[in-house]
């Protein structure tokens, strides 16, 4: 298959490109960049996405992720290794560059900011979730990650891919806003129905996250931990969490 940045959407939808992609399991292969320093988690995440027919590139650090995305020291995203990335899923707590820092760098880049970024964490701290969502993360998933979490993401991604192909014929990468996608979506169970969090300085027009958590408890541990603590991390009572976030 031809590998070039422009027209990547056409490449991905080779045989069935007729403008009417209805099946999320069509030939448009979603390419996921998975970032996790834990090798066990990396292997599981990779398998989770592969089982849903996604192409997966797994790296073990934020730095390597930026290198892969073509955004290293030069601060310009040039060569994307010929492969467009449709989704970045990253662990929050990593040595060196945290997932949050990686998220910020991606959103600061004009070339990369449209790529949806999902954060994974074993610690569902409300302040952390808010911080990530405010910085532009698409979603925040509690670890351990399950197939249902990934299925939900993939449905969302594939819909987005289809929209991109339809809207511009594959030449550019203009996307509809997440808000438009959420409003149009009817069959997907991924639309977030609870009120958006009001604990941080978030803008009212920001679309609600797909889902902040699965059935895992919002606060797993009652202590702040020594690593990956950011300013503003606080212990939140579980009652407040239930108000702010929906449980699946």
């Amino acid at each position: 298959m031809a590998r070039n940045g422009v027209g990547a959407w056409r490449r991905r939808s080779t045989d069935q490109f007729d403008g009417s992609h209805s099946s999320p399991c069509g030939s448009e292969e979603v390419h996921v960049l998975a970032v996790d320093d834990n090798l066990v988690d990396q292997k599981v995440i990779e398998r989770l996405f592969k089982i849903l027919s996604c192409k997966v590139t797994a790296v073990d650090s934020g730095i390597r992720a930026l290198q892969f995305l073509g955004l290293d020291e030069e601060k310009t995203a040039g060569n994307l290794n010929g492969l467009k990335v449709d989704l970045i899923i990253t662990d929050y707590c990593m040595p060196g560059m945290t997932g949050y820092e990686l998220l910020k760098k991606i959103k600061e880049s004009s070339a990369l900011r449209d790529i949806p970024v999902v954060i994974m964490s074993s610690e569902n701290v409300l302040a952390r979730i808010d911080r990530c969502m405010a910085e532009g993360a698409e979603d925040f998933i509690g670890k351990p990650v399950k197939l249902s979490d990934v299925k939900r993401l993939k449905d969302f991604m594939t819909r987005d891919v289809v929209d991109r192909v339809r809207s511009d014929g594959g030449g550019t990468t203009q996307t509809r806003t997440r808000q438009e996608i959420f409003n149009v979506s009817s069959s997907s169970s991924s639309v977030f129905s609870a009120p958006s969090s009001s604990s941080g300085p978030t803008t009212p027009s920001r679309p609600p996250p797909l889902s902040v958590s699965s059935s895992k408890p919002m606060i797993e541990e009652s202590h702040r931990h020594l690593n990956c603590i950011e300013e503003g991390d606080q212990q939140e009572s579980s009652a407040k969490c239930i108000l702010a976030c929906s449980q699946r």
Partner: protein, 149 residues
Amino acid sequence: MDVAQLKRQLFEYTTLLFHEGFLDEQFTQLQQLQDENNPDFVVEVVSLFFDDSERLLNELATALDQQNIDFNKVDAHVHQLKGSSSSIGAQRVQRVCIAFRNSCQDKNVEGCLKCLQEVKHEYSLIKNKLEILFNLEKQILAAGGSPPV
């Protein structure tokens, strides 16, 4: 032993592991990710977990053996161990890791040392039990059957 008997033994053993809290639903998740194209997925992930855990337990022993313990370092290792045990469903290991992190938070040396012993113990238990489980699966395959998911 014939395939049917082996399968029953595997089923009962697995059920027991869940019942006694050694494994949780995440292990079932992993089993569901295995198929005929990836028949060794669970064994591969668990092997990674074994290697990773052994390395981390050594690092922990070293870190706690220092004159001036770097609790950040200890916590980072425990965090890793907690993460991987959680990802494979090794529930009892994960639970000890939670207590371990609290001891790190409190800079409690004695607590940390105690937790290290506990986590080593739980790790060796689950390693042993999973090896028995995988061995049963191998026996089933050798006897001509396919392991139940």
